[in-house]
């Protein structure tokens, strides 16, 4: 795995381009910086300045090469590359609180923005007026939407919210698409319909993710739990309470395995068993550096006792690669079905690329099914 420290400030959000040579990230301010990989260096090639508030979400559409950003200034911009510069187009979201997260749909003809106004804005391009238009999903959301993920059928949208629930909505826009075929989550999907609402977990839902087939949805919530629900069997949600600090982001790397990361600064693996509808802990995915010094001298022990009232030799330094909470996970290669590489960015301003094969061979008990 390779770690690169971009900044000293936290990376608020990031997005990769299609061939993974460029990364767009927000360095905790009003701008978006695009870095291009050059050998083993990263060079800043573009700075996108249009937002008046911190940029809270970035998503880069791989096929159409458009970037959508949203921020605390209650706006979203769609950026298109014209020649050598990125040109913004304002999207009126009609929200009166900050936007928190944004995601392009799989076919890239719409995107959804979650906001603090307790609603989701689903935006699509209206050809006649040459303008982005949005529709709101309001009921029954009762608090900020923190995270979004689209189902592969381009219609269903999973949303995690601060009202302690993970829900799946239909975001079917008849102007841009055909009626969707029935799925495991239901067959009637008018706009705004709630196909699934979670029960059982308390705590804000920080991260939500559909599996590659779209039949499963996983979410991580602030009470240190991860849960998976399967369409068709929605009465049964498998959830796992963990012993660690809350997880902030979660993603499927195969149909049965999830990787999640959060305030503990290292990614962890979970395995879902469909037959038993049970989730289990797979292992910690951080390979700690072998510490050079083992054993302490008597002098160090006395100093420790004097300063910290303990002879414990554990240092106050984190052994994980990231030195602060990991706030976002993204899949680089292989998709959600057979992920080969994924990337994490965090509050320490660093980005790490993790290789699944290397991790599998390094950790003996790790099994990615």
């Amino acid at each position: 795995m390779s770690y690169h420290s971009f900044l000293l400030e936290p990376i608020s959000c990031h997005a990769w381009n299609k061939d993974r040579t460029q990364i767009a990230l927000c360095p905790n301010n009003h701008e978006v910086h695009i870095y291009k990989k050059d050998g083993s260096n990263w060079n800043k090639i573009h700075v996108l300045k249009e937002h008046n508030g911190q940029v809270t979400g970035i998503d880069w559409a791989p096929e159409s090469n458009r970037i959508v950003t949203c921020g605390t200034d209650r706006n979203a911009y769609v950026w298109t590359l014209k020649g050598d510069a990125w040109k913004p187009t304002l999207v009126i979201l009609r929200i009166n609180r900050a936007a928190r997260c944004v995601k392009w749909s799989p076919k890239e003809n719409k995107f959804a923005v979650g906001s603090g106004s307790r609603l989701i804005s689903v935006c699509y391009f209206e050809q006649d007026n040459d303008w982005w238009v949005c529709k709101h999903i309001k009921k029954p959301i009762r608090s900020t939407i923190l995270c979004l993920d689209w189902h592969p059928n381009n219609v269903l949208l999973a949303a995690g919210s601060c009202d302690f629930k993970c829900r799946i909505f239909s975001a079917y826009i008849k102007e841009v698409e055909e009626k969707p075929a029935p799925t495991a989550w239901g067959s009637k999907m008018p706009f705004g319909e709630v196909m699934f609402e979670s029960t059982g977990t308390a705590g804000w839902v920080h991260g939500v993710c559909f599996s590659d087939s779209g039949n499963r949805v996983a979410w991580a919530s602030h009470d240190s739990t991860v849960a998976v629900a399967e369409g068709g069997k929605t009465a049964v949600c498998a959830s796992l309470t963990s012993e660690t600090l809350p997880l902030l982001c979660v993603t499927f790397i195969t149909e049965n395995s999830l990787v999640a990361a959060g305030h503990d600064c290292y990614p962890v693996l979970f395995v879902y068993d469909s037959n038993k509808a049970a989730l289990s802990f797979g292992g910690k995915l951080d390979i700690p550096k072998q510490s050079a010094q083992k054993g302490m001298s008597a002098r160090e022990r006395f100093q420790n006792l004097d300063k910290k009232a303990t002879t414990d030799s554990k240092e106050a330094v984190l052994e994980s690669v990231h030195k602060n909470s990991i706030s976002q996970l993204s899949i680089l290669n292989g998709g959600k079905a057979q992920c080969a590489k994924f990337c994490t960015t965090g509050m320490d301003g660093g980005m790490t690329i993790w290789d699944v094969k290397t991790l599998e061979s390094a950790m003996k008990d790790l099994k990615i099914v």
Binding site: F164, G203, H222, S224, T241, S242, E243, T244, L245, P246
Partner: protein
């Protein structure tokens, strides 16, 4: 001066109550929750079966009820059981609980910290240390994020 500056009663109005978008927790029927069975727990303590007493006192937690007396009684009972354990047996007591049991125990421990009596905090701190090593930091996070607690 105009008349309406005389009274300052308006400062005591809780404006959040009039907010139509105020978040209200879902009501879950908790009227029948009576808390752990006092007689059963007492008899188990008298018999010296402390493990059994621990299991019994963690049954029927009064989580959903709005009756404060039930909650206080339950907390008092739990404290009695926890205090009657010998220090060396605390670890075994914690091991005998499952994950939900450890979470529930942690909730009672923090509830006990809220209102300390003579020796309660010392006992609770010993239990806290053992429960922490069993449940990890996640257990404490769940105590903090629980909307309905004992």
């Amino acid at each position: 001066m105009s008349k309406n500056t005389v009274s300052d009663r308006f400062r005591k109005v809780d404006v959040d109550e009039y907010d139509e978008n105020k978040f209200v927790d879902e009501e879950e029927g908790g009227e029948n929750q009576l808390g752990p069975d006092e007689a059963e727990v007492d008899s188990l303590i008298r018999q010296g079966n402390l493990m059994g007493a621990l299991q019994a006192v963690l049954k029927n937690p009064p989580i959903n009820t709005k009756n404060q007396n039930v909650k206080d009684r339950a907390e008092g009972l739990v404290l009695k059981v926890l205090s009657s354990f010998k220090s060396t047996d605390i670890e075994k007591g914690v091991q005998s609980l499952d994950k939900n049991g450890v979470d529930l125990l942690m909730k009672y421990i923090y509830k006990g910290f809220e209102r300390p009596s003579e020796n309660s905090s010392a006992v609770l701190l010993q239990w806290h240390e053992k429960a922490l090593s069993a449940g990890g930091v996640g257990c404490i996070v769940r105590v903090l994020t629980a909307r309905k607690t004992v």
